[in-house]
């Protein structure tokens, strides 16, 4: 536990804030998804309720809340109600362990006739030294929500959807786990903060008489790993082109066929949470986390210093700037999810499995081997 009341309070508030950030992003994403789909298909999308259809989300939420309670007669009530609650957990907990910005340093200050501090608050709910292993472990619990929903609904469509979804998730978890090994070989750590610190380093080289200063972003060193990772999160999150578990023509909507109202919405929150975790991991591993390509921390600090801000305010504002940068990257990747959805056609189930086992797994193995040999050659000098 923290050393005093102030620290504990801030930590709890921070945790709640990060959780709400994730939950609040879901309606925005639903809006982006609808408007984005409409944009790609050159139609309007929701545009009646509020400016640009933004308040459509609130209307939807009220509608979801007012839906009738329904359990299939043969369904197992306990599992049926537990499944949507469990669907929320992996995304939220995994998201809590990813650093969303640089740490905030608070110097000693006077409050309520008492000196507090100094403090260092990390911009994440909790900091495990084994970051990526913890995230992979927690996200692998996502399969239970599907299996509970599929079994608890007592419906053959739900069951088949759940089985397909979990078989697909576990098949692509191999390619996902293996594609990250290449990046871990380069960074030599499981800790997200250290990875980001390593990617913030600059390496200089000359090409055609011009001097280049590039950040050591993971995507420059692991392009194949990045592609493989990004493709496998589509399958992990059951998004098109890999949305076989809910292929409308065959399985109605898959494992949540029998769910309605808020319970169905919770599965969507879980799915979007999973997407956010996947994108945040991609940003952390391959796009330099919260760093900004051409800007350093000292430059931002000096900018705020020239505005006449105090040290605590500077620290907070810098963290916020990096936080915005992080979310810009994540939101771009989330837009790519929508983009791909309307660009690629759906795979057939056997093609999906073939792609996972026979194409992506061998390629990520090859990536690991090549990376290991190169790292051994470069680092031994």
């Amino acid at each position: 536990m923290g050393s005093d009341v102030f620290e504990i309070t801030v930590n709890l508030v921070k945790m709640l804030f990060i959780f709400l950030l994730m939950v609040q992003l879901v309606p925005v994403l639903v809006w982006v998804e609808r408007r984005g789909s409409a944009f790609i298909q050159s139609r309007f999308g929701p545009n009646r309720v509020g400016p640009l259809g933004l308040t459509q989300l609130l209307a939807d939420a009220v509608k979801f809340l007012m839906k009738e309670e329904f359990v299939p007669a043969q369904g197992k009530k306990l599992l049926f109600y537990l499944a949507p609650a469990i669907a929320l957990v992996p995304g939220a907990v995994a998201f809590g362990s990813i650093p969303l910005s640089c740490p905030v340093h608070i110097q000693r200050f006077l409050m309520l006739q008492h000196w507090w501090g100094p403090y260092d608050f990390e911009f994440q709910s909790f900091h495990f030294g084994v970051g990526i292993v913890f995230v992979l472990g927690i996200s692998s619990l996502g399969a239970y929500a599907l299996l509970l929903a599929g079994w608890g609904s007592a419906n053959k469509f739900s069951l088949m959807g759940a089985l397909r979804a979990s078989a697909q998730m576990i098949s692509y978890e191999l390619a996902l786990g293996l594609s990250l090994v290449g990046a871990i070989l380069i960074y030599g750590t499981f800790d997200f903060t250290e990875m980001i610190a390593q990617q913030a380093q600059v390496f200089n080289f000359e090409l055609l008489g011009h001097a280049f200063h590039l950040r050591k972003y993971g995507i420059l060193m692991q392009p194949i790993g990045a592609i493989l990772y990004f493709s496998s999160i589509f399958a992990e999150t059951n998004r098109l082109p890999f949305d076989l578990p809910e292929a409308e023509g065959e399985l109605v909507v898959g494992y949540h066929t029998e769910y309605g109202g808020l319970k169905m919405l919770m599965f969507y929150i879980g799915e979007y949470g999973h997407m956010m975790v996947g994108s945040a991991l991609f940003v952390t591993f391959y796009l330099g986390g919260y760093t900004i390509p051409l800007l350093t921390t000292t430059q931002i600090n000096n900018l705020f210093l020239s505005m006449g801000a105090g040290p605590n305010v500077i620290s907070i504002l810098t963290a916020l700037v990096f936080h915005v940068a992080f979310f810009a990257k994540v939101l771009f990747l989330l837009w790519v999810f929508v983009w791909v959805r309307w660009t690629l056609p759906r795979f057939r189930y056997d093609q999906l499995m073939d792609l996972g086992w026979k194409t992506m797994l061998p390629w990520s193995l090859a990536n690991v081997i090549v990376t290991a040999v190169v790292v051994a050659y470069v680092r031994s000098k």
Binding site: A73, Q74, A92, G96, H127, I170, L185, G261, L365, R379
Partner: protein, 123 residues
């Protein structure tokens, strides 16, 4: 605040938040009388041909079992990857490459055996 305690708080908070949402949605919705047809399992307008406990292809389980085996091999690569640079810098680069090389050779042999024996075919 240890990370474990924070993680547990978040874990249980989210779980109970989810259960609370489920409870609230049941509370706010309109109450209707029990309807036998409505509470049957969903089917596209026809009487259900099969019940929910229909036969499930063995394929799924075979995939899951192969997943476990390959997953463990991948988990073994994580400590290897994280300590790789240390090994290389202490001059044991060829050794650690050789150790994982043998392991990977076995892994790759297994993978290609599975592919060749059509264990991963889905019709």
């Amino acid at each position: 605040m240890t990370p474990l305690f924070a993680a547990l708080i978040l874990f249980f908070f989210v779980l109970f938040f989810g259960l609370f949402l489920v409870w609230v949605s049941g509370l706010l919705g309109p109450k209707t009388k029990f309807n036998k047809v409505k509470s049957e399992a969903y089917e596209c307008g026809l009487p259900s041909q099969e019940t929910h406990n229909t036969k499930i292809p063995v394929k799924f389980y075979l995939t899951a079992i192969l997943f476990i085996l390959f997953d463990i091999e991948i988990i073994f690569m994580y400590p290897w990857a994280v300590s790789f640079i240390e090994f290389v810098q202490s001059g044991a680069g060829p050794y650690i490459l050789g150790v994982m090389g043998v392991f990977l050779a076995i892994f790759i042999y297994g993978l290609f055996w599975e592919i060749k024996s059509n264990a991963l075919e889905w019709e």
